[in-house]
């Protein structure tokens, strides 16, 4: 059984979690100035528009930072796991996990690629893996 601690969705974040359930990493695009933004929020900080739609992120990016949490141990993770901060091609950044990788091989700046995984408790999250540079 593979499970994760789930989010508390709010009216501002519901689209993001609904997107993951459908296998998509969605980010907001302002209808006023067309700028993309993440994490989710109701207002565009550039033009103050409250109108937005979403685009699906490519999932391609590079590693900006990463750590290996050791203590405390959580029931949701077994052994060593990598928490990663990823710069997406779209110019946004997100926190995720880097999986299927030897932690000793992880380097800042490495190309990574993400896709959605559905855990057994119904929680859907993006998870990233190393990718070959295009």
């Amino acid at each position: 059984m593979s499970y994760r601690l789930g989010p508390t969705t709010t009216p501002d974040t519901k689209f993001f979690w609904d997107g993951l359930k459908q296998g998509k990493i969605l980010v907001q695009r302002c209808k006023g100035c067309a700028r993309l933004r993440h994490p989710p929020r109701p207002m565009c900080p550039h033009c103050n528009s409250l109108l937005w739609d979403t685009i699906e992120a490519s999932g391609r990016g590079t590693l900006h930072s990463f750590v290996l949490p050791r203590h405390p141990q959580w029931p949701w993770f077994e052994g060593t796991y990598v928490v990663a901060l990823v710069d997406l091609e779209e110019g946004l950044r997100l926190v995720t996990n880097l999986v299927d990788v030897d932690p000793a091989e992880v380097t800042i700046g490495m190309p990574v690629e993400g896709r959605v995984e559905h855990f057994d408790d119904g929680v859907s999250l993006h998870q990233f893996r190393p990718r070959s540079p295009r």
Partner: protein, 389 residues
């Protein structure tokens, strides 16, 4: 017309409980004990008090503290958000109240059973089935503790400037050296070496070892703020507020401000620093000793850069044990800080700054004229410069 806060108010009293891992009494009682001790220290009575300021996270109601102390009339009560980031801001708030006449004598306090009660280190999350909304974007991936939030940002700082965990360890050694000489410190008589630091287990690899993380403590600290004029007639040398400021920077989160173009700085401390130097008319070289908020060692280095004690990326060379220890060029955290003395959300560090101004610290720095204090980092924060009359 610009009205300056400079010199208008002073800290006239300091009070604290013992610092422990299990106080055995309520947080309200700790708050009352600390407040009464601070008023006794100032030579004032609860009947003189008309203002109370604390942290939004504090569990004791202003009205409850007032009814226990016997404060008959309050004209100011106010709270500061962002945990330890509010430490210097409570004094800022009190000083503004005193300067504008909103209150004449303000008690600022922080009191909690952070070790024996609700711990911040993540133990409370162990049985959780759902995340609080502020952790939605980081918690599901395993960032569930303050240590892990700080580490992901500090890892990038290490990468950009070639900083290692051993560089961070020097802060732990300095703090424990100072704590060793402070009878009130939890780690009194227990200094550590850099080898001890490097042998301690990883909490978040490769950034934070056990000895990079502050303590969890039970206890309370209170400060009495009044006008500099009134403080002159009280028991002790006043610690005059020469500058006080808050700061929140663009695209801030509680402790996960990861989405800015660069994350190797602490821009909220930069905003605080700019105000502190401008208000006080001082420069870093004018400061003889400082309390730099040390919940986690990496951000002490970044603070040295943001405050202008050294250039960006140079803290790893600047922050030597010799320079930052008593007898050095810039002794920091002379009571032992949050790592060595106790974790009272930074209020114990401010009390130590007052002792340095009075000349009563157990690690007294020679010729102190100006002392700098900062508050919790990685979140919206605050700072203070105190001086002599």
């Amino acid at each position: 017309m610009s009205v300056s806060l400079r010199g208008r108010a002073a800290i006239a009293g300091i009070g604290q409980t013992e610092f422990s891992k299990e106080s055995g009494r309520s947080e309200l009682q700790l708050a009352c004990e600390a407040a009464k001790a601070a008023l006794d220290d100032a030579g004032l009575s609860p009947r003189d008090v008309d203002g109370l300021v604390t942290f939004t996270m504090d569990s004791s109601e202003e009205a409850e503290v007032a009814r226990n102390l016997g404060i008959p009339r309050l004209t100011l009560f106010s709270r500061i958000p962002y945990g330890g980031g509010g430490a210097c801001a409570v004094v800022h708030q009190a000083a503004m109240a005193v300067a504008t006449g909103a209150a004449e004598v303000v008690v600022c306090w922080r009191a909690f059973n952070e070790r024996s009660g609700m711990r911040f280190g993540g133990a409370a999350m162990a049985g959780a089935t759902m995340l609080p909304p502020f952790l939605d974007m980081v918690g599901p991936y395993g960032l569930l503790t303050p240590a892990s939030w700080v580490a992901l940002q500090a890892r990038r700082y290490m990468h950009e400037y070639g900083v290692t965990n051993e560089h961070f360890g020097r802060i732990s050694v300095v703090d424990r050296k100072h704590a060793a000489n402070n009878p009130a410190a939890w780690f009194h008589g227990r200094p550590i070496t850099i080898e001890d630091h490097q042998a301690s287990r990883w909490i978040v690899e490769p950034v934070l070892r056990l000895l990079d993380c502050c303590q969890e403590s039970d206890g309370g600290v209170a400060l009495v703020v009044t006008s500099t004029e009134r403080a002159r007639d009280l028991r002790h040398v006043p610690a005059v507020v020469l500058a006080a400021a808050q700061g929140c920077a663009d695209d801030a989160e509680l402790m996960t401000s990861y989405y800015r173009p660069e994350i190797s700085g602490l821009p909220e401390m930069g905003i605080v620093a700019e105000q502190l130097w401008r208000q006080s008319g001082l420069r870093p070289a004018d400061v003889q000793t400082a309390f730099l908020y040390d919940h986690f060692t990496p951000f002490v280095l970044v603070q040295l850069e943001e405050l202008g004690f050294c250039k960006r990326g140079e803290a790893k060379d600047f922050a030597t044990v010799e320079r930052l220890s008593i007898g050095g060029e810039l002794p920091i955290n002379t009571s032992g800080g949050l790592l060595g003395e106790a974790y009272i959300h930074g209020m114990n560090g401010i009390a130590e700054c007052v002792r340095q101004i009075r000349g009563t610290s157990c690690n007294q720095v020679d010729g102190v004229e100006h002392v700098l204090a900062t508050a919790g980092t990685g979140c919206p924060t605050s700072g203070l410069i105190l001086g002599r009359v």
